[in-house]
């Protein structure tokens, strides 16, 4: 099957599926390496990481572990990286590190390692490993600083930096990074795992290039893009032509502000679609701003979930999609704005706004509003061994649908990270879980009821703990659909050892002490249709 001639290569339907399988297998192998070898709790079975292969231009051709929010990121990361670094500065055996949100990114904790892949001196692909580090420095353990007013407060900012040259680690750059993050030994483990993933990918790609040729592979990459483009066009064609507007609201930015509008205008024209978020609010002082890449991720997710679950993530998907953001807005914030929560909170609201917009033409396919928040609470406790950072997500009630009730205790849409078992928490952190219950009756009423949220209570065993919250749906509830009622609001509070009770806001950092109890009460899902009685 060797084809080294310069003749144009055609990729038939069989070869296309065969090569797609081979490339996906490589990306999956990368993800397994990261999952098994990395240290940050989020990379564990929860799987807050992604792997991808791109063509030589940086367009995605395959992805491993499928975290929807990362799709938007990895679809742009290598292209933005190339726009800044330039292919002529890259060399075989390089691995670069980057986490700047403006370089095809989202927030600082999601660190990307990028390896250019060569054969016979020709750059033909990139392997990228993205992983959410448990800490990337900044003001607070876990690198979520609710009080942040600028980008520098959020942690170590890494522009594209060559960390490995000629397959040898640059120990000085590594030391610089490790000196600026909490848990340097664990972070080193994460970096090594991510590099190992890109190394495996390069080796596998080389085997593939050997079997075919880089020329053939490049043609196959193009065929993959073309196919994804066709799938996306088919999906768009299923929606009636028209202009659809929707809005939803963020609770606040953590700095005492009012709810923040997220607005979208969706324009469907035959087989193209545009998603214009320009009417959304201006960038806010607090850390719920986000990037245009995240806006792309939200648009892509909605199209896939509503109209084409089988659409292959690839650079070609974005060809018929136009995602418009207004520079300076919350969805395309200036580079100096804090963004840490925007990655999973604002991102979900961008998707909610699109769902609202499409309600007139898709009510039968939509779920009512669910827990479109990570329900994030981070505990940073000082111990003899340093600062133990426990990062936990809280699922809520799924929104009801036209044909069924919502399910209790579920993550929806762009996130799917699992919770941490009580027995693991008590073993690894100075925290006791007092109870975990279903929050009965919290789902919105309706012809079909929204799912119920949960209640979980954490007792502090450490003397001094910093609690960080980053949740939404505490002011603006998960919406009902077609007459169904909204789900109950997200709530959290501290029951102090002395008996006083202190409500927690959605974006807050507070110091608490031994025996204080943190109670997290997640939101219910919205109901669907008018309640029968």
């Amino acid at each position: 099957m060797k084809n080294t001639s310069p003749m144009p290569v055609t990729i038939d339907p069989v070869s296309l599926e065969v090569v797609r399988n081979a490339l996906t297998a490589i990306a999956e192998e990368m993800s397994m390496v990261v999952m098994r070898a990395a240290r940050s709790p989020l990379l564990r079975e929860a799987g807050d990481h992604s792997s991808a292969l791109t063509d030589s231009q940086g367009y995605l051709v395959a992805q491993g572990a499928d975290v929807p929010v990362h799709l938007g990121v990895l679809s742009f990361t290598v292209r933005e990286f190339l726009a800044r670094v330039g292919a002529d500065r890259l060399a075989p055996g390089d691995v670069w590190i980057v986490n700047l949100p403006e370089v095809g990114g989202n927030h600082l904790p999601d660190v990307k390692l990028i390896r250019p892949v060569y054969r016979d001196g020709i750059l033909y692909a990139f392997a990228v490993s993205l992983a959410h580090w448990a800490d990337v420095g900044g003001a607070m353990p876990g690198s979520y600083f609710a009080g942040a007013r600028d980008a520098w407060a959020e942690g170590l900012r890494m522009p594209p930096t060559r960390l490995v040259a000629g397959d040898v680690m640059d120990d000085e750059k590594l030391a610089l990074i490790l000196a600026n993050v909490r848990g340097p030994a664990e972070r080193k483990g994460d970096i090594l795992a991510q590099i190992a993933a890109t190394t495996v990918a390069a080796r596998r790609l080389d085997e593939l290039a050997q079997r075919h040729s880089t020329n053939w592979l490049t043609a196959a990459f193009e065929a993959i893009h073309d196919r994804a483009e066709r799938q996306m066009k088919d999906a768009i064609s299923a929606i009636p032509n028209g202009v659809y507007s929707g809005e939803d609201w963020m609770d606040d930015d953590g700095h005492g502000g009012a709810p923040v509008p997220i607005r979208v205008t969706v324009t469907i024209n035959e087989d193209t679609a545009s998603f214009d978020f320009s009417d959304s609010a201006d960038a806010v002082p607090g850390p719920i701003n986000t990037t245009r890449f995240i806006a792309g991720a939200a648009a892509f997710y909605v199209m896939k979930a509503l109209y084409g679950p089988d659409i292959q993530p690839s650079g070609g998907c974005y060809r018929p999609l136009q995602v418009i953001t207004r520079p300076g807005s919350i969805a395309d914030a200036p580079d100096d704005k804090p963004v840490v929560g925007g990655n999973h909170e604002t991102c979900q609201r961008l998707a909610d706004a699109i769902f609202h917009a499409l309600t007139p033409v898709a009510a039968a396919q939509l779920s009512a509003g669910g827990p479109t928040t990570a329900g994030l609470v981070i505990f940073g406790t000082r111990t003899d061994q340093g600062i133990a950072t426990f990062y936990e997500v809280h699922p809520g009630g799924e929104g009801a649908r036209i044909d069924r009730d919502g399910m209790a205790s579920t993550r929806v849409h762009l996130a799917n990270v699992m919770n941490t078992p009580a027995e693991v928490i008590e073993t690894e952190y100075p925290i006791t879980v007092e109870y975990q219950k279903i929050r009965r009756g919290s789902g919105g009423a309706g012809h079909h009821r929204g799912g119920d949220g949960i209640i979980r209570a954490y007792r502090m065993r450490g003397v001094e703990t910093t609690v960080t919250t980053m949740f939404e749906r505490a002011v603006v509830p998960p919406y009902g659909l077609q007459g169904g009622e909204a789900g109950a609001l997200f709530e959290a509070r501290i029951e102090h050892a002395d008996g006083t009770v202190q409500p927690l806001r959605g974006k807050q950092n507070v110091q608490i002490g031994k025996d204080d109890l943190v109670v997290v009460t997640s939101c219910g899902g919205g109901g669907y249709g008018l309640p029968v009685d």
């Binding site: 599926e17 999956e28 098994r36 483990g189 065929a223 799938q231 509503l306 997500v393 699992m418």
Partner: protein, 672 residues
């Protein structure tokens, strides 16, 4: 040994049996095999039929080992017996809180996961609390035991599962509750007995599933006991590829969850040992799925977490990965790419070539047109294959791709092979192994047809198609040894090594496992104990498995771990580590009889004829069809060839070569 030994595998459709005579034949042919229809409603009758089918009566049988899909089917088909749950106060909703994740990322229409196994009305709480080291925080009082037992009784169920927080660290509270419950409730399952590991949701769900299966399995075992002569022994094939006594299975029926696949894996382990394979991967391709399992150093790889029918099960089981592709998988063109599966034509209507009304093109239809399937054979006595129907199904697909029908058929095969190669790679990568080190053991209806091209894609150079490939699982049953294994959480850090504590844990767990074997009549000093340590650097959550760990010397153990980590990931940091878990296996390696097919050595290959075949290139060639039983041992023959017997077809493409051995196994050398 006096009396016959029988391996009986009760599958979904057929029950296979192999009977090994009292004294092993050195040359004569007295082993017997048979196939009878399974009787899902009356599994005991299938066993009686199987005994009769090999011309025996039960009193002539010294021992039966049987594998069964009873438990598997109930789980996959969600047949649940109402079950109460008792949890630590504040944690009975854990069964519903679960882990909060959903199964399908992009399918909002599908329920995120199955409904909780226990409804809220059957969840009860005991006032008690242990901490993470097993110390009592709140004592469980006798009064509270009485209260909660009365509540469960009042609910009217006869089945209850108990899962208290941290109970695997200190079993006292669960034991006391269990004692009280067993006086009044028929079926009681305690979490520290079923799955003594941390992570309360997984332990709870596993314990509930185990409880739910108890009534049915006890009933089945009771019927068997009624029919069985006292002198005849009976064992069951459990999920970790060993056999277990009925007494243990009655308490741990969930050990049968993977009984069927485990039997096939056991037979493969035996083949790997016979042929001296250090690394082997099984390739069992059937109608709707293909099962693969890794065998390293003649031992099946074991996993402790598995989703079966959407339910999370945590106990040691053979690490069989099921790929949703088989003979019935449907091919279709999706946005310009040829996709195959996971939709399947199933048994009804079945592939188009069965002529039972199927019109969509399947892998079997492609096999038919490529000459993989013998057009003159009837399947199961009733299905006559039809090339016309196969052609009619594939033609529209071929036209849409601007391919000939032959090219389309071979294209379907190529896509299936790529799917399988990806799945095989995933199975090895997950465990940090390199596929190219492996040999393949191919069986199942379609396994020997498709094995060579899959092996080639994976860089696998040698394939063995075992003798007995029909009834292979029954062979696994008859050759199984008694073994019980259990994985337990340890959580001991290298910097805080507690040798005495570890020794005590080892002694306790080993004694408990050994007691079950001794009770089943095996002498204690004949038992063999194997350990697998799960070690990780602090902060990692995946453990690196260390076989044969040095548990008496932490420094040596650390060196074993660093070496294994380096081999897996290319680096080791030499930092502090943790002995996270320990799997203990106790087995009774008494001589299991070696069942071997009896064949008369042949001197001349019988050519049954020729058949038109299509290989990956899409070109058609006439290929000789050889009678499998007539292949002279030790004489290589070059492909393209078909080797066939009454039960299986093995395809050897051009450039590859096949050799039979004296035992009737085929070895294929794959050109890479």
């Amino acid at each position: 040994m006096t009396g016959w030994r029988l391996g009986i595998d009760i599958g979904g459709t057929f029950t296979d049996v192999i009977a090994v005579p009292p004294t092993l034949p050195t040359g004569g042919g007295t082993q017997r095999t048979a196939k009878v229809p399974s009787q899902p409603q009356q599994p005991v009758n299938a066993i009686l039929d199987a005994i009769a089918a090999v011309g025996l009566t039960w009193p002539e049988v010294a021992e039966i080992v049987h594998g069964t899909t009873i438990v598997t089917n109930d789980i996959v088909e969600s047949r649940w017996r109402p079950c109460a749950l008792i949890a630590t106060a504040g944690f009975s909703d854990t069964i519903e809180v679960a882990r909060g994740s959903r199964r399908n990322l992009y399918r909002m229409d599908l329920a995120p996961r199955p409904q909780p196994l226990v409804p809220a009305s059957l969840r009860f709480e005991a006032v008690e609390r242990l901490d993470h080291e097993g110390r009592v925080v709140t004592e469980l009082t006798d009064a509270d035991i009485a209260r909660v037992v009365a509540e469960v009784q009042a609910s009217g169920v006869d089945t209850v599962a108990v899962c208290l927080l941290h109970s695997f660290r200190n079993t006292d509270h669960e034991r006391r509750l269990g004692q009280a419950l067993r006086k009044v409730i028929a079926h009681v399952s305690l979490s520290h007995e079923v799955s003594p590991e941390f992570r309360e949701y997984e332990r709870m769900n596993t314990t509930v599933l185990n409880a739910m299966m108890m009534a049915k399995i006890k009933h089945h075992l009771g019927l068997l006991a009624d029919r069985k002569p006292d002198a005849s022994r009976l064992h069951l094939m459990h999920s970790a590829s060993g056999m277990a006594s009925p007494a243990l299975i009655a308490e741990r029926p969930l050990m049968l969850a993977m009984s069927g696949p485990a039997a096939g894996v056991a037979a493969s382990c035996r083949i790997a040992a016979d042929l001296n394979m250090s690394h082997a991967i099984t390739f069992d391709m059937g109608g709707t799925t293909t099962d693969v399992c890794l065998i390293v150093d003649q031992r099946a790889q074991i996993s402790v977490n598995r989703d079966l029918g959407g339910q999370r099960i945590r106990m040691p089981m053979v690490a069989v990965d099921s790929i949703g592709a088989g003979g019935g998988s449907i091919a279709r063109l999706v946005a310009g790419a040829l996709m195959v599966g996971p939709e399947s034509a199933g048994a009804r209507p079945g592939p188009a070539c069965y002529g039972k009304g199927g019109t969509l093109p399947t892998v079997s239809d492609a096999d038919m047109l490529m000459g993989y399937l013998n057009p003159t054979r009837t399947l199961g006595g009733s299905i006559t294959l039809s090339a016309e129907h196969a052609t009619a199904a594939i033609k529209p697909l071929a036209d849409a791709m601007r391919f000939s029908v032959d090219q389309a058929a071979s294209g379907i095969a190529r896509v299936v092979h790529a799917n399988m190669a990806r799945a095989l790679r995933r199975a090895t990568v997950e465990r940090g192994l390199d596929l190219r080190q492996f040999d393949m053991i191919a069986f199942g209806g379609a396994g020997p047809m498709h094995a060579v091209e899959v092996a080639r894609l994976c860089g696998i150079a040698r394939i063995v198609v075992p003798a007995f490939s029909s009834g292979f699982s029954a062979l696994g049953c008859v050759e199984a040894v008694m073994s019980y294994s259990r994985q337990t959480t340890v959580g001991m850090k290298s910097g805080a090594w507690d040798q005495a504590g570890l020794d005590a844990l080892l002694a306790d767990q080993t004694a408990e496992l050994a007691a079950a074997l001794v009770n089943a009549g095996h002498p204690r000093d004949g038992l063999v104990v194997r350990h697998t340590a799960g070690i990780r650097y602090s902060g990692q959550s995946y453990e690196t498995p260390i076989e044969g760990p040095n548990l008496a010397d932490p420094a040596a153990l650390g060196a074993q771990f660093d070496a294994a980590h380096r081999a897996l990931y290319g680096y080791a940091t030499g930092e502090a580590w943790e002995l996270a878990s320990l799997r203990i296996e106790v087995l009774a390696p008494e001589t299991a009889p070696q069942a071997r097919p009896d064949k008369t050595p042949s001197s001349a290959t019988i050519v049954q004829g020729t058949r038109r075949m299509v290989f990956e290139s899409g070109e058609a060639v006439e290929v000789s069809v050889l009678d499998r039983d007539s292949l002279p041992p030790g004489q290589p023959q070059d492909g393209p060839l078909i080797v066939e017997d009454a039960w299986s077809t093995t395809v050897i493409p051009p450039g590859d070569r096949v050799t039979a051995d004296a035992a009737g196994n085929l070895t294929i050398e794959v050109r890479l």
